[in-house]
Symmetry: D2
Subunit: 287 residues, 4 copies
Amino acid sequence: MTQRSYRLVGICPDQVGIVARIASFIAAKGGSIIGASQYEDTETRLFYMRYVVDADSLNMDADAFRAAFDPVARELQMEWRLTESAKPKRVVLMVSRLDHCLADLLHLWRSGDLFFEPACVISNHDDLRELVEWHGVTYHHVPVPREDAGKQAAFEQTSALIRAAEPDTIVLARYMQILPPWLCSEYAGRIINIHHSFLPSFIGARPYHQAFHRGVKLTGATCHYVTEELDAGPIIEQDVIRIRHHDTVEELVRLGKDVEKTVLARGLRYHLEDRVLVQGNKTVVFS
Amino acid sequence: MTQRSYRLVGICPDQVGIVARIASFIAAKGGSIIGASQYEDTETRLFYMRYVVDADSLNMDADAFRAAFDPVARELQMEWRLTESAKPKRVVLMVSRLDHCLADLLHLWRSGDLFFEPACVISNHDDLRELVEWHGVTYHHVPVPREDAGKQAAFEQTSALIRAAEPDTIVLARYMQILPPWLCSEYAGRIINIHHSFLPSFIGARPYHQAFHRGVKLTGATCHYVTEELDAGPIIEQDVIRIRHHDTVEELVRLGKDVEKTVLARGLRYHLEDRVLVQGNKTVVFS
Amino acid sequence: MTQRSYRLVGICPDQVGIVARIASFIAAKGGSIIGASQYEDTETRLFYMRYVVDADSLNMDADAFRAAFDPVARELQMEWRLTESAKPKRVVLMVSRLDHCLADLLHLWRSGDLFFEPACVISNHDDLRELVEWHGVTYHHVPVPREDAGKQAAFEQTSALIRAAEPDTIVLARYMQILPPWLCSEYAGRIINIHHSFLPSFIGARPYHQAFHRGVKLTGATCHYVTEELDAGPIIEQDVIRIRHHDTVEELVRLGKDVEKTVLARGLRYHLEDRVLVQGNKTVVFS
Amino acid sequence: MTQRSYRLVGICPDQVGIVARIASFIAAKGGSIIGASQYEDTETRLFYMRYVVDADSLNMDADAFRAAFDPVARELQMEWRLTESAKPKRVVLMVSRLDHCLADLLHLWRSGDLFFEPACVISNHDDLRELVEWHGVTYHHVPVPREDAGKQAAFEQTSALIRAAEPDTIVLARYMQILPPWLCSEYAGRIINIHHSFLPSFIGARPYHQAFHRGVKLTGATCHYVTEELDAGPIIEQDVIRIRHHDTVEELVRLGKDVEKTVLARGLRYHLEDRVLVQGNKTVVFS
């Protein structure tokens, strides 16, 4: 964490010599590579990469590095970005009433274990105001009515609040409302949800009830990017816990909280550290 | 394993005093209880139990014990059975071409780590004859044609072979055919299948392909009782393994073999030790 | 949680008829058994049990039940206790500077997911006062000097604070001081510690450094009862997480926090629900 | 598996430009990089790498590639090797009486799931001859007496058999003898052992008994390189399974077999695929 670094993340058509081209460019600037991951997808013939360069080894700042890299990227037809490890991403957190995921993220932020800047919290209930404000974070209460007109207005207000917060990332930390398609597509690839089942099992409402009635022996949680189709976006991280025949739905809910918060924190960390590249409806996650 | 025991397994309507009634009956016969598990389902108000009694502590054999217990069971309206730990269950193993599950079960049997008697192996291919016969187990090759008439004849022959083998249990150890409903219902609660996904995800054919295309981060295997509805029977055991973005379908298949054989061996063990009681479309599994 | 119940927990020499004796006693009082676990240790010939009885099904209160059971227990030479699910155990929490375990326990308490009454928090630092007091819990700052006299005085003050708090249980939620033997023995079987390694590996100080230098591929956490011998008491719960060659000590520390807080919460839950019976230097944990 | 590739594996002092140097060299030969992993150890300032190059994309064979790379390696002061994915490594398997690991490895080999060439099996007992010879593999029975002179003679005979087999790798698949130091050092970095505990817990004999008496809640297995110090060599892979208070030592032994064979197969696979680089007494394992 103490080492200031740049992360050069990109996707381009595969061809001989890409690594040489990238690495030679970095070396020519005096850059010391402190981490490099790449993946060649044999189906699509696409090349995915993440290079981490010691910022202090370079004789230029991030913007100059970007300007210098641009011609290389064009040549390789690469979609890319360069981010700085020292710059926290701005995150809007959305939540309903259950606070286990939110409380965990706020704790990880406060203790310095997860590096981001909480822009604000938006909730359709007012229950968690005290917790959030104690952390010094702004809390917006935007109730979401059931009828269409009210719902549309609520999401327009939500959208305005999000826009004002200028977030890099939006996290649905058990926000129990379905975002409208226009909002999903506005922030495509930047909205992260935690779903309380092992997707694609138990899509939609009340997954613990579904799991209970199917009699599965493990239950899980899934962290994924939100797309317009419900619970169908690219999966970032998943995990499961073992359950027993004597566990009631209430106990599944309680046991599930542990795995939900862990999986969301891990998935968000990968995203914040620019380790996740979307590959169609899947993800490449560099370790 | 050295201790000879009786397993008294039953289900009855819940009421005050059942445990006292059962335990007093056993104590009156001088029986030493070396294991007792019970479960009260609050929804159905049913009581599930498994008592293990030291056979040598009783002053009677299994049949005498059964006869003595019968009135108690009637009084409690209990469906029950008494099995003997020293008597191996007869198992018919069914397999197609992939041998990882079959080889593992035969090895566990041969090394004494899984206690059963392999009645015979039935396969729609002849590939695994050598492996099976080396273990001294009878091998039946029953090809299953694609057209209906041939298929029906094949399953009638299969059914005759099973009947002749007088099995307690039938294990589909990656038998890649769908059994006809009449065969499923004839051996209801006694056919165990290993499905190569974490059910209810990826029901049906080619689950590893489905998992690959959905981009899940864990894949799994499910051991369940076979019912007339495909891959929908009561689940006995499940487990998962972590996969990575660079794993191809072929690697998922290979990685999955480990978890398939482990989950099938565990599920079958629970069944052979009379730890599994079916509860609607779920199972109670006593540890 | 809604069902009020009594937990009858005991250990006695094994003999034929114990279950019958206990279950008949409960049935005679009209008690409905909603959970029963037992274990016969074949080495020591001891019988361990935990019975959960629906309180509303009994025609007597807890004290009357205790009085009625006493002669049965004497007859069976049983060490036993009867606790009430509706009565929260009083817990003293001790902590140093790292707050991940404490914050998690306070959150679980506040959200109703872990049922206990935080009597107070005692810390050798003042850092976590704000967090604790925000939860409405009393915070005692008792610095622990390095020299013997000061240390002895500090632990006498600690002991006085504990005594005044009248706790059922003391939790060392990353309290980085070694308690003196006299304090350990005063609360034998009631002090729970979380050790940040997979015991018995990496006993003592800086276990993550030890794990890093040994090059293990998994690291873990252990929740155990504190005895006079360091990190050697009966283990209640353990778990591990996978680590990679590129994880630094700092990352092990961070990754370990997740498993520490999970393992402590699970172990404490088992203890609070009277599921843990000490068996020499081991534990029986009823699920 | 179908793609023929070269694996270029090396360790050298870290400096700016290594990746550029390697990748440019490969690109200059027309080589298509289909996998690249690297790791910079910040303590030792060493650089570890594994490049996988599509063999068919190169205009030269392996020896020509080696000759061409040699000057680059000298320049970088790199210790390196180039292996061919199409050339199976020759493996000598050593075993005592328990056959679960051996049977699993032979099965994986026979089914094509693990790519190696079993040179021979050496055992201090004659029990597993039939199993091994059925697989068409040579079996050597070399009894190991208890007294020193006999033991020395036995290991000289063992050493001669190993030398004659010209192995790349020696696997101790539950070979219950301690190899003499001179044999360990002769094949340093090439002897792989499976130890039946989660090292460094329970070093030496009867680890399941040790685990049972300590009362751990998880038990494990460790795959590591053999060094002269018992059970202290670099760890390649580990895993654990959950155990319960009612599990006897015999059950730990049985449960442990599953994790032993899985961990050995995984560790050996990493080694066979040249994913493991020794780093002092630790390993870098590229995924």
